[in-house]
Symmetry: C2
Subunit: 316 residues, 2 copies
Amino acid sequence: MKITVLAGGVGGSRFLLGVRSAYPDADITAIVNVGDDMWHVGVRIAPDLDTIMYTLAGQNNTSRGWGRVGESERVAGELRAYGVGWPWFTLGDLDLGTHLARTHYLRSGLPLSQVVPLLTSRWDLGVTLLPSTDSEVETHVRVEGGSMHFQEWWTRHRASLPALAFDFVGVSSAVPAPGVVAALAEADVVLLAPSNPVVSIGAILAIPGLADAVRATSAPVVGVSPIIAGAVVRGMADACLTAIGVSTSADAVALHYGARSAEGVLDGWLVDTADDAAVAPVASAGITARAVPLWLSDDATRAQVARDAVELALAL
Amino acid sequence: MKITVLAGGVGGSRFLLGVRSAYPDADITAIVNVGDDMWHVGVRIAPDLDTIMYTLAGQNNTSRGWGRVGESERVAGELRAYGVGWPWFTLGDLDLGTHLARTHYLRSGLPLSQVVPLLTSRWDLGVTLLPSTDSEVETHVRVEGGSMHFQEWWTRHRASLPALAFDFVGVSSAVPAPGVVAALAEADVVLLAPSNPVVSIGAILAIPGLADAVRATSAPVVGVSPIIAGAVVRGMADACLTAIGVSTSADAVALHYGARSAEGVLDGWLVDTADDAAVAPVASAGITARAVPLWLSDDATRAQVARDAVELALAL
């Protein structure tokens, strides 16, 4: 079975752990958001790709929620002493190894989609990672009086500055990375991870041709709600949803994605049992919804959510 | 008093310690070789500038002879795990902080000569560092069957592959960095540090216009022999001298530099007392030579060599 997952960082990586655990023999491909990527102190940062790589490799820092386990900050101390970089954005030493390796390959002329397998081959991830695009499309946040990289808005300001809009800078000339359209076309099941609907899944779907490829696949497309009981499971996705006029609820996000039958991307939608009331309005929009426990708290619950998503897809 | 010193890395930094110690009130400028510089795993390495900066800052690793004291290699371990970079060329974590800061500024569009003061301002060096040029002029070594960056020949092969020639790649279109010609023109004394005559001082003098500026200054120009008793004090400069047909002796190096009166760059030349016999042949070429103890073994001897060089210059 070929399972293709659209994924952001933290939510995406936890969901992928569940898919890998539930379907160890499946051919699993993740199409990963690159909108959070940026050049910083001369190296290319790719937060979502790295979070997923580290998590699937068992190398992620589970207590902190980002970066590598056993991390140190020797280089970051020097950068601070030189007054270079953002004081609120610390690059760990182990993490910098990844950034330098990526930068080395990018500077040698390879596109990101060829760099990713050179980095992931170090571990047995059990999931093929594809960047959504090889182009440098960066998510910027428009706020009162200006605009900033998503990373600054998210990490420095903790999403506290009211966002007026999100710009995917450079998106109009971007195309899906090699393998992305095929991974959707050849899939038996396409899943949307419970990632940020605006700056993760939204940034993926904003790549010209990518949403069309989701709509064109013969595979069923099922999404997993990142909203449980009217609140975001993690992160500050509510601030992002508010900015684009979508309320923080499981049904509002499904309606935002829309039914494939009506130029959207979803055939099915999983909501948490706490959001049972969302099933009917979602269904009336042409999306088959089902309420199941959605908390990805351990391996067993993550695998069960993945099974529920795939089984809903195969039942459509 | 304005003292301008042409300097490579290790020999240059030890000599500069002596100049600073002997003349704490002088305005000391070092014109530093950049021929060993290179792009490596996406960052710009500048070994001679960094060796001098670390040494003058008291941050150098004196037992190892290169890099920072208290260094660690967390990032390098990751690069090895990714199979990126040269396994025989280890980048320390603290050192990488410098490389990343430099790369950050270079990628933002600043020329190296503007980047250097942004890095050195962190410490009170007592010496102004100027790169010989802002251009990326790299020393490559021609060997039987090919060519390689100087760093590979020097560090990986320990200068054991017979060098046929040294190419300063890109030198023809290079110009001295801003401030270099003025530092020579306005100097009261110009000194050549006991650095490698071929790939350090030679690479500096190869920048078009730079040797002319040395010849044009009204200041006396005195060099310090890097050869003592027919042997190199450190490093493998003999392999470099052999490649350009210069024998490893204090007089041969002086004659290679040549007298200013005969299109060379020297007015005076310090040799070690062990090389007393070199004084006459050097003098007959129009260069005033003097034999003094040249071992830069501690602060007192380093300062004495600097005083001997300056006093010879002022006596000319």
